[in-house]
């Protein structure tokens, strides 16, 4: 089972249970349908970053967040990042919701897994570019994580002109549309900081049913 499929199965709530063949077949066919039907896109721009206590500044943009400051500690630059699977993924899920709810749920999980993997691969690309300048990336940190207020979604999208560059926008309540999208800040520093925990394990909700390292 490849990583994407494994992640999708985890999102479906299987935890450590083995997945049955019938569902696995549905996961695999949905992943394939999705991979060939979506047009992923991403964009990033690198900005100078200044930090004062728990406040970060990028141009006119001020972000007050303890957890983000911690994540960005010692960084003088940050990559503002956004990625999306595009509207096709949403349409596939919407459509399956009418005819076949099981498939809708599986597509949803597959899309989440696909998106994570895509973001990782984008981040690798940025990391490579930075490595040439002798710089290192921190893990990406999204609005809504910790106390990084989701309202910052607005400025983040505006700075990237994400609507016209990758077709990514948000609703009045700061939810991304297309829904299968990620925005984040990625700290750039001159030193490699070891043991930054990645992804799901870093979350404080340790009783989450979908947690990767759940017992």
């Amino acid at each position: 089972m490849n990583r994407k499929i494994r992640e999708a199965v985890r999102y479906l709530g299987y935890g450590r249970h083995a997945i049955d063949e019938q569902t696995l077949a549905l996961v695999e066919s949905s992943m394939e349908e999705l991979s060939s039907g979506v047009r992923e896109r991403f964009i990033y721009r690198i900005f100078e970053l200044s930090q004062e206590g728990e406040t970060l500044k990028i141009g006119d943009w001020e972000i007050k967040s303890r957890s983000l400051s911690k994540n960005m500690k010692g960084c003088r630059q940050a990559a503002v990042f956004a990625a999306t699977l595009g509207p096709e993924a949403d349409q596939m899920i919407r459509r399956a919701s009418v005819t076949e709810m099981a498939k809708a749920v599986v597509l949803q999980a597959c899309a989440a897994a696909l998106l994570e993997e895509y973001c990782d691969s984008c981040q690798d690309r940025i990391a490579q570019e930075m490595a040439e300048e002798g710089k290192y990336l921190r893990p990406r940190f999204s609005p809504g994580y910790g106390d990084f207020d989701i309202c910052h979604q607005e400025m983040l999208l505006k700075i990237l002109q994400a609507d016209k560059t990758i077709g990514l926008t948000m609703t009045k309540s700061f939810m991304l549309t297309p829904t299968k999208s990620v925005t984040a800040l990625i700290g750039i520093s001159m030193e490699q900081t070891p043991c930054h925990r990645q992804g799901c394990e870093v979350c404080e909700k340790t009783d989450c049913a979908y947690r990767r390292d759940s017992k």
Binding site: G86, A102, A104, V105, I159, D163, T171
Partner: protein, 820 residues
């Protein structure tokens, strides 16, 4: 300026944003505020463009719409007036007040996605653009330039607003990628068809790409466009350097490419991101005096949706007829019960069966047809990319559907009656569309082929008076039933050929009327269909679920070499085996709909061994439908539900709760049960049995929240357990939920929310419900919720999963009632 369009080369200006950044515009600062705050610098840039040779200079109003522009110090009106005034001032300073240099109001996208992709309604988008357009025209703009659009729906709202609110020329350009696609999936053909239908004065491409990459897309646009084409490239593809976005193409190289673009067919040229007055100066110098390729009238008949275009050309296409209540009890009931899902399924099903366009008819005497039509069209275009055919005799329904339709629709229909033409043609002129012209008039349906062709001619001539071209009319010479009109088929076939030869128009027919009153109708229908295609039928309105019709269609395409190497034919029938006596039910529709891996597992077992309980527990959808149908021949539907379906669902539900079976499996079973219910529902309808519903429940995803998958899961399960679910959808105002609860006397409401930011709206909804409908209970669910949170916002019940909501619904709605 309209006299000059498409006759001579016109020059636009170049970039604005990049120049402002150089002058100190900070990341995230609103460039439009500079129209007031740093007026002189804006005027200076505009002046430089006029002096560099621009005929048209765009105001600095790209983000000046109510949805994007929020500033405490200046109002939108002030900004737009100042911006247009700055252009005019610059024009005077440059000494170009000669009536041959123009100030354009620039309109960019709202930065929001429209429904159903996002949360912005078409009407809200329209309003925002309408306001900007009004201010711009009042401020004295000579034209409106809509640009950098990525979504056909949004650009439609903008063009309609610009045209309805002002009388000045309207240009529209979009961002296409290197494959010629919009970010929202649209293609060149469909976009051009829609924009020309809406009556833009010029259209084209801007931003996203450099001139070199735009060349192939320009070619494609020119192949389809009859109006002048605009090209406004970036100075190459963006590159990041030292944290800044840079564009590499120099003015000289840019000018060289622009020359090529003019030779290829561009009539109005300028620059977008990264281009400067130096680029424009080099461009005007290189291109001034060049002869443009005068745009010619294209004759392709095209309909489109948000994502694709269908060309009605030599290769016949299929219009699916099944979204129509005529003669269909079940469909009528779905309309009366507002069962939109049933209608959507008919659409998806026909798409899978091979339809290219979907006819949409929701006319019933006792429903609000305009509202229903609007809703169904909106919902359909959210789940299918097939173009739609708006089928109604109700003028209001037709207009509302055409207005909110995302693309260039097919319209069914107009006849040769003056009254009909006076009603339909203005709508086609305004919104664009391909309209079916029925060959009948005040004197009825002409008996002869000649007579029908004559009426067709009348329709085409009358349409011309409105400015509607023959390419946008498709003639229906009217299929007559051969059992009552012995010459019916012969006349139609003659008329098809004649009308095509005489007027060079495309044709359409409702095919199946031919066999009315005869036994084994598919036999007659399919042969007549083949004959009609041979005589030049462009679009047959048929049931793509009819295997005979599809056989005729696929064979015809293979025979006439429309299906290269018989690929589609082989794909459909490679596995064909002659029907043996053992095969029942499910017609081999080419592609069987994907029941995931389910059918595979089922086929491993001998069908004889499976019973309905088993197939539902295992989530075998097709088998469940088939077995339910077989059972219904010997057993009462209600007993099947109580003896087979519900126990199976209970078993699966228990396993789910025990953690031995997981959500996808629970839902596969639910889908299988749903399939069985659908079969039983048909049976009951035919025998007039009414299934008692277990009580009504409202489900909604709260205001501000667009993640509705959890709500949809709960819905499927509740429906399986016989509850009558009123699904209000996502992003639902508290007021609407309360209103519905009061009106329908609802005792249970289920609310879902995904994020902490929207739980506030959940709380508000509960508060309102308590006030207006105190006897109504509320259950809540969603990713961020837990028992504590649910208690805090005053919910009666927190459902941690979908089965819990079923149990709670049973508790609330069954208590105090005798159970069946």
């Amino acid at each position: 300026m309209r006299e000059r369009l498409g006759k001579e080369l016109l020059f636009l200006d170049g970039g604005m944003g990049t120049l402002l950044q150089e002058r100190g515009l900070k990341p995230g600062e609103l460039p439009e505020t500079w129209n007031l705050k740093r007026k002189e610098e804006i005027i200076e840039i505009h002046r430089q463009y006029y002096e560099a040779g621009s005929d048209i200079v765009l105001s600095n109003t790209f983000g000046a719409n109510a949805l994007k522009f929020h500033d405490e110090d200046c109002s939108l009106r002030e900004i737009i007036f100042a911006a247009v005034d700055n252009v005019k001032t610059a024009r005077a300073l440059a000494g170009k007040d000669d009536g041959r240099h123009y100030a354009a109001l620039d309109i960019g996208p709202t930065g929001k996605l429209l429904e159903p992709m996002g949360d912005l309604s078409f009407d809200e988008a329209y309003e925002a653009f309408a306001q900007a357009a009004r201010y711009g025209a009042e401020a004295g703009a000579d034209l409106i330039h809509i640009e950098t659009m990525s979504d056909t729906y949004e650009v439609k709202a903008a063009v309609l607003a610009a045209k309805e609110q002002t009388g000045i020329p309207v240009f529209a350009t979009l961002i296409f990628d290197e494959r010629g696609k919009l970010l929202t999936g649209g293609d060149v053909t469909g976009t051009v068809a829609m924009l020309e239908g809406l009556g833009v004065d010029a259209l084209g491409i801007n931003c996203g790409l450099g001139p070199e990459q735009m060349l192939p897309i320009l070619k494609e646009i020119c192949r389809h466009a009859s109006v002048p084409v605009i090209v406004k490239p970036n100075a190459g593809l963006p590159k990041q350097r030292d944290g800044k976005t840079c564009y590499d193409v120099t003015p000289e190289i840019f000018a060289g490419w622009m020359k090529q673009l003019v030779e290829t067919g561009a009539c109005i040229i300028g620059g977008c991101c990264g281009t400067t007055p130096a680029h424009i100066r080099a461009m005007t110098k290189a291109c001034r005096g060049m002869q443009i390729q005068v745009p010619t009238e294209k004759t392709e008949t095209i309909v489109s949706s948000y994502g694709q275009a269908v060309v009605l050309g030599d290769c016949p296409v299929i219009i699916g007829e099944r979204i129509n209540p005529t003669g269909k009890k079940r469909f009528k009931q779905a309309l009366k019960e507002h069962d939109i899902d049933y209608i959507l399924k008919e659409g998806i099903c026909q798409q899978e069966q091979g339809a290219h366009i979907l006819d949409v008819n929701v006319g019933l005497p006792d429903i609000d047809e305009p509202a229903m039509m609007e809703e169904v069209v909106k919902e359909l275009q959210g789940i299918t990319s097939l173009p739609l055919q708006i089928d109604t005799v109700d003028q209001r329904a037709m207009e509302r559907a055409m207005r909110i339709y995302n693309g260039k629709p097919m319209v069914n229909s107009v006849s040769g009656k003056q009254e009909s033409m006076a009603m339909v043609f203005p709508l086609v002129k305004k919104y664009g569309g391909v309209v079916i012209g029925l060959a009948l008039d005040e004197n009825g349906i002409p008996k002869t082929a000649e007579g029908r062709v004559e009426v067709a001619g009348k329709i085409i001539r009358e349409a011309a008076k409105y400015g509607i071209r023959p390419k946008d009319i498709v003639i229906d010479v009217l299929t007559m039933t051969i059992s009552s009109e012995p010459e019916g088929a012969i006349t139609v076939l003659q008329a098809l050929e004649m009308v095509r030869k005489k007027y060079h128009v495309r044709t359409v027919l409702g095919v199946s009327n031919i066999s009315f009153g005869l036994p084994y109708r598919p036999a007659v229908n399919s042969v007549f269909y083949a004959l009609a295609m041979q005589k030049g039928l462009t679009a047959g309105i048929i049931n793509p679920g009819s295997e005979e019709m599809m056989k005729a269609y696929r064979s015809y395409l293979a025979l006439m070499n429309f299906d290269k190497n018989c690929e589609a034919y082989i794909a459909a029938y490679a596995d064909y085996k002659p029907a043996g006596p053992a095969r029942t039910g499910s017609p081999a529709s080419g592609k069987t709909d994907s029941a995931g891996g389910a059918s595979g597992t089922g086929n491993d077992r001998k069908t004889g061994e499976m019973d309905l309980r088993y197939t539902i527990e295992r989530g075998l959808k097709e088998e469940s439908g088939r077995l339910a149908k077989a059972l219904a021949e010997t057993e009462e539907p209600l007993s099947i539900i109580n003896q087979h379906l519900i126990p199976a669902l209970d078993t699966v539900g228990k396993r789910f709760e025990q953690g031995t079976l997981f959500l996808p499996q629970l839902l596969m079973s639910a889908d299988a049960a749903k399939e069985a219910f659908a079969v039983l529902k048909d049976t009951m309808e035919q025998s007039g049995i009414v299934q008692e519903k277990n009580g009504k429940i409202i489900l909604a995803t709260v205001k501000g929240d667009i993640h509705d998958i959890g709500k949809n899961i709960v819905k499927v399960l509740l429906e399986n357990y016989g509850f009558d679910v009123i699904d209000l959808g996502k992003d639902v105002d508290p007021e609407r939920i309360v209103e519905t609860a009061v009106k329908e006397d609802i005792r249970l409401v289920g609310l879902s929310a995904l994020m902490t930011t929207t739980v506030v709206n959940m709380e508000e909804t509960i508060r309102l419900l308590r006030k207006e409908k105190p006897d109504c209970q509320v259950m809540v669910g969603g990713a961020v919720l837990n028992q504590e949170y649910a208690d805090m916002i005053g919910a009666d019940f927190y459902g941690k999963d979908a089965m819990q909501s079923v149990h709670f619904a049973q508790k609330v709605l069954h208590s105090g009632e005798k159970e069946s």
